[in-house]
């Protein structure tokens, strides 16, 4: 029994040593693709509210098309489809796929966040002589961002987990490394248990970080931060 336990500990330690160096890659893929998703999502979300019908239609179509296709297909399409045309490496293709896919979800979150701001805020800003852009930039979006922190954080955590899908195109991250280890050593239970545990540690860390962010951006008496 003691032998078995010692054996297991050694095995887990061995897997752990194998997996831990790729954890930064999973983090890098997630952070890069989510940064892309944030920028694209904010732009698309704002454009969806445009009074210009063509712009509103195109941005709406973007959201519906991107959202309607599985992430795995995005990855294949961008890596094998566009990738062969544009000569994209695995990292770029993976980050683009996750980033574009999540930008559609984020656009909807940003749009609803902007919609949630009372109309009087626009009127007050515009009566002070602000242009529509200045109103969005200084009055509406700062308030919306506080509202959307929780749902955006949700998407961030989801994108961390979904970054495992890019292992399919051979981009070396946590899931890929798990498969490598497993295929060499056939320790299925232990490997996937540890891969899962590492993802869990990362997502729980993020959850804590989000709680902290919410408290930093909380304004007395504003929105859900009401004390």
């Amino acid at each position: 029994m003691i032998d078995w336990i010692c054996e297991q500990i050694v095995l887990y330690w061995d897997i752990f040593k194998y997996l831990i160096p790729v954890v930064p890659w999973t983090a890098l893929i997630t952070v890069t693709s989510f940064a892309l998703a944030l920028v694209l999502g904010l732009i698309i979300g704002v454009l969806r509210l445009s009074h210009n019908r063509a712009i509103a239609f195109i941005s709406g179509a973007y959201v519906n098309i991107i959202r309607g296709v599985p992430l795995l297909v995005h990855i294949f399409f961008i890596y094998f489809g566009l990738g062969s045309l544009l000569n994209l490496d695995r990292f770029t293709a993976g980050v683009l796929a996750v980033g574009i896919c999540y930008s559609a979800y984020l656009a909807e979150i940003f749009r609803s966040g902007i919609d949630a701001i009372a109309h009087g805020q626009y009127e007050a800003a515009m009566s002070l002589g602000m242009t529509r852009f200045q109103t969005l930039r200084h009055v509406i979006i700062p308030q919306s961002l506080r509202i959307v922190i929780p749902p955006v954080a949700n998407e961030f955590i989801a994108s961390l987990k979904d970054s495992s899908l890019v292992s399919i195109i051979g981009l070396r991250e946590l899931t890929r490394a798990g498969r490598e280890y497993y295929s060499q050593n056939f320790t299925d239970f232990q490997t996937w248990f540890l891969v899962g545990l590492l993802y869990l540690v990362m997502t729980l860390t993020l959850t804590r970080l989000v709680k902290y962010l919410e408290s930093v951006y909380a304004v007395k008496g504003f929105g859900s931060s009401r004390a």
């Binding site: 009566s127 602000m130 200045q134 308030q143 008496g221 504003f222």
Partner: protein, 240 residues
Amino acid sequence: MIKIKNVVCRFGNIIAVNGISLDVERGEVVVIIGPSGSGKSTILRCLNALEEIDSGEIIIDNFRIDKNQKDIHQIRLEIGMVFQQFNLFPHLTVIDNIMLAQKVVRRRSKEEAHKKGMGLLEQVGLLDKVDVYPEQLSGGQKQRVAIVRALAMDPKIMLFDEVTSALDPEMIGEVLETMKMLAVRGMTMLVVSHELGFAREVADRVVFMEAGKIIESGTPEKIFDNPSRPRTKDFLNKVL
């Protein structure tokens, strides 16, 4: 200073403003009274191009007001507006509320905007609230901050849209005092209000509106003590 000619403003089938003409001179204080739904707020909002007019013409300081005009925001910054619901920016402190448009629109430096804001806050007795968020203020304090925010832009005209209607009775006085101070200094003011005492004391002219039209206008003495139209009498009897 303000020329309103035959202005009509519709919302779908409802005619909110039905052919209004009104001229306001520089330094004049005009108070618009009337039952709710009479179009008095709408005409005020048309002046600031927050509503689009369907026909007629509004000219302020030789500028034609048109909601769809590209540089309408440049005309708006000459017109301060204070709302019933305050509309302070909840994510900014009092002083940041006052400084934002000064910096962004008037292109003032931070120091200049701050100095201007502090000066005005002192005049309305709110220096101790500089770094507080709007939610922590009473209604009367909020409205005084909103007035200061508009004044900091050095507007030529101030529009007040039922600014005391959402306030507790004991806070109405402090806001009216602030408005009186402005009137005394010669600000051109258009005030939609139910405060008839204020109108009598401060207005140069009182306008009575009903169903989108001006029924009667004149000095406060004439409107309150000797109204010529039966509808004006009716209204005053009901509210006094």
